[in-house]
């Protein structure tokens, strides 16, 4: 499919600004352009999505949201396939009962042969038993060709699968886009009058959250820590002041000094891991430790597309990314010390500039997602809602004799 490949390539080159939404849109076009065979449509779609997903994840492993969306789409495909199959089986039972009815009046979709339905059910409804694993025969081979009325029905059935999947992906995109509003609706429950809130860096979810509380006439003050070396805190402070909130900008080193006078810490996250741990912009662990010491609630706002089914100890998860030292030091002043060519061949000076921080789940008081508020110990249950166990490792299995 040259079209999708070209799309994927342009996407990869712009992966720096990739968001979950763009990934979902890309996968939607991949699905719509994928030609599916008559049987085992779900398998073909899953393979196609896995192929593209592998490339996306390999391009920027730190961007966990991309992997999340790939896995969400795979889960959607499996679910849609499952619901279609159960509907077909349900109608098959009906058809078995009313065998003497007039066939022509019936809906084209339901006239599937029992064997085909049984084969499909074997692949989706039952978990892989030892027998099917040992057989290792592709399911399509076991399905006998159905009789005449099959052709039109199968294409309509495959179209129905793709159609359902694309509708579900559209819903997913809609969820991603509106997650800020749904989280912000819960703001009034958590912010009371005359409160003092601390945040670090800048996050759109956090600013929407605070604006929503301001709309509801809660008066509160905000301390913003500037979040070196990206200094996003300055931008957030600008936005908050423009909306009329009392804001004080402090350096990151003053967080411990000021946190004793703070009622609540509200921050955004880059990703939420399955154990409830948070991957957040660098400096967040400092704030979380200080909040724990002073018994200040540490609230993390995250859309459900940021929930990653992997654990931090998984080898695929890159917890961090090191950025350029020039953000910390001027190259001109220290260039002789950082040079590999000087002296004994190893530089005297190393500069460490990580982009992310890992906050363990015991430091987090509450997660607020678009599905409501949760404890860190509950996050692993949400994974079952959004992801399938087969998709945790996004890799195409090599098919024997291919």
């Amino acid at each position: 499919m040259p079209d999708t490949q070209a799309l994927v390539m342009t996407f990869l080159t712009s992966l720096k600004n990739a968001t979950a939404r763009q990934t979902a849109e890309l996968l939607r076009s991949v699905i719509s352009q994928q030609r599916v065979p008559y049987t085992n449509q779900a398998g073909a779609l899953i393979d196609a999505v896995k192929a593209v997903g592998e490339q996306l994840i390999a391009a920027n492993p730190v961007e966990l949201a991309v992997g999340n969306i790939v896995r969400r789409v795979l889960h959607i495909i499996r679910e849609e396939d499952l619901s279609l199959t159960t509907a077909a089986i349900g109608e098959l039972n009906l058809s078995a009962v009313s065998d003497d009815e007039n066939d022509d009046d019936r809906d084209g979709n339901t006239t599937l042969s029992a064997a085909a339905v049984a084969a499909a059910a074997r692949s989706t409804l039952r978990p892989p038993s030892l027998q099917t694993l040992l057989e290792d025969t592709p399911v399509s081979a076991a399905v006998p060709q159905t009789s005449s009325s099959g052709a039109a029905d199968k294409s309509s059935r495959s179209r129905k699968l793709k159609h359902d999947v694309i509708e579900a992906v559209n819903e997913l995109i809609q969820d991603i886009v509106t997650c800020h509003e749904q989280i912000a609706e819960q703001a009034v429950e958590h912010i009371h009058q005359n409160e003092v809130i601390l945040t670090l860096g800048s996050s759109r979810t956090v600013s929407e959250f605070l604006f929503a509380a301001k709309e509801k006439k809660r008066s509160f003050r905000v301390f913003v820590a500037e979040g070196a070396p990206r200094y996003q805190g300055h931008l957030l402070a600008k936005e908050l002041v423009a909306r009329g909130l009392q804001t004080t900008l402090i350096t990151d080193s003053a967080v411990f000094a000021m946190i004793s006078r703070v009622n609540m810490v509200i921050v955004g996250a880059h990703a939420v891991m399955a154990n409830g741990g948070v991957i957040a912009p660098v400096g967040m662990n400092l704030v979380a430790l200080a909040a724990q010491k002073h018994a200040v609630p540490f609230v993390v706002l995250a859309g459900s597309h940021k929930l990653c089914p992997l654990y931090p100890h998984n080898p695929e998860v890159l917890l961090n990314e090191l950025r350029s030292p020039s953000e910390l030091l001027d190259f001109g002043e220290f260039s002789d010390c950082m040079d590999f060519g000087s002296g004994s061949g190893s530089p005297l000076l190393h500069v460490v500039n990580p982009a992310f921080d890992y906050v363990p789940p015991k430091l987090v008081s509450l997660f607020i997602t678009d599905a409501g508020g949760h404890n860190p110990s509950y996050m692993y249950r949400l994974i079952a809602d959004y992801y399938s166990a087969d998709d945790l490792v996004v890799q195409r299995r090599a098919i024997a004799g291919n």
Binding site: V241, T248, A257, M258, G283, N285, L286
Partner: protein
């Protein structure tokens, strides 16, 4: 002095040597501390140079150095001030009709209030001034003027020598025993004592690495980094947000202090508390290196009741980042305040040990030293 009391503020303004406009957007929590607009102070003071005939030029010079930020660090400021006082005493002559003791004390007090206007006193300076005044008050009345002046200058020399220079040497000896081969030592900001420790341990031939942690707005760690690299130590440089990332490979943390208070709280550069807290969370020992003359009998629980506020423009402006600096013209916006704290208070439970010239003590022993060894001042 309480700066939220308007009457007192007005009185002190009348006595002020140069005028300082107060900052417009003051943070509510810190109304009890002075906060001034820093832009015009230095030029104002320089223009007043020829008008200040009551001011000794040495004291004036030290004041300007404080205001410009050329002299920073507890020890450096204390030594600069005491040397200026030595010159004052040398040039002093008792006016007719007055006693040396009372007049000299009054002069010193006026110089001290000038220095306070330039920059609030550090604890080390406060203790040195108290020592100085007690020495003046204890002068026997039988001494002639020249003998009295010589005795006072001698006392200042002894104070600087014993309490600062020799004390630093003792601290360095003690601390070097805590550095082993293969250690990774972390330090924050720039402390002269910690620098001496690292250089001494390097001279002894110990193999170790240094991690220098730095923060805005002063970036004091960069100066320390340069000096360490010049001597050939291998260093890692990072900023304070990355402390959690780097702490897992650190074996010891050495920090300096502006003062240690009687409840064991360490009062030092802002950010020290963050570093000590993360070290404690990772079970890394934290060693505070502080001379005993900096101990104080005050107690403090948090960093807000007593602190120093710096220039808020330092926070608003980020050098080298034009995309962020569009904030700069907003320093006068009503809803927006910038907070530039200079110090913070580290709770004693984060500190494993304090290395002083009296030995290596736990934080709980600080009030003991303050009580038992204060009398030593009187015995000099």
């Amino acid at each position: 002095m309480q700066f939220d009391d308007q009457g007192r503020v007005n009185k002190s303004k009348k006595r002020a040597v140069f005028n300082q406009p107060e900052a417009k957007n003051r943070v509510e929590l810190f109304r009890h501390l002075p906060q001034y607009e820093h832009g015009s102070q230095l030029t104002d003071l320089e223009s007043k140079f020829l008008e200040l005939d009551s001011m000794h030029p040495a004291v004036y010079k030290v004041g300007v150095q404080y205001l410009a930020g050329d002299v920073t660090g507890g020890n450096a400021r204390c030594i600069a001030m005491l040397r200026a006082f030595q010159e004052v005493i040398n040039d002093y002559s008792t006016p007719p009709g007055k006693t040396l003791v009372r007049d000299l004390t009054a002069k010193i007090s006026s110089y001290v209030s000038f220095l306070i206007e330039c920059r609030p006193l550090s604890m080390s300076m406060g203790n040195a001034i108290r020592f100085q005044k007690s020495r003046i008050a204890k002068l026997p009345l039988t001494l002639s003027e020249t003998e009295a002046k010589a005795a006072l200058c001698n006392d200042i020399d002894r104070f600087i020598n014993e309490k600062i220079i020799l004390a630093d040497k003792v601290i360095v000896r003690h601390a070097a025993t805590k550095v082993r081969d293969g250690d990774v030592l972390l330090t924050y900001g720039s402390s002269c004592v910690v620098e001496m420790i690292l250089l001494y341990a390097h001279e002894l031939g110990k193999q170790f690495r240094v991690v220098v942690v730095d923060s805005r707005p002063k970036h004091e760690g960069q100066a320390l980094l340069r000096r360490l690299l010049a001597k050939g130590l291998s260093c890692t440089y990072t900023h304070i947000n990355a402390v959690s990332y780097i702490m897992h490979e650190v074996t010891r943390v050495f920090l300096g202090a502006s003062s240690v208070l009687s409840n064991g709280t360490t009062y030092s550069r802002v950010g020290t508390a963050c570093v000590a807290m993360v070290a404690h969370a990772f079970r890394v020992p934290v060693l505070i290196c502080c001379e005993a003359y900096k101990f104080h009998e005050r107690v403090q629980l948090d960093s807000i009741c007593s602190n120093e506020l710096g220039d808020s423009n330092d926070i608003a402006r980020v050098p080298g980042r034009p995309d962020v600096n569009s904030m700069d013209n907003r320093t006068n916006e009503k809803n927006l305040q910038f907070l530039n704290l200079m110090y913070d208070a580290t709770p004693s439970e984060y500190v494993s040990m304090i290395i002083t010239d009296y030995g290596m003590i736990p934080p709980t022993s600080v009030p003991v030293i303050v009580r038992e060894y204060r009398r030593e001042y009187l015995l000099i």
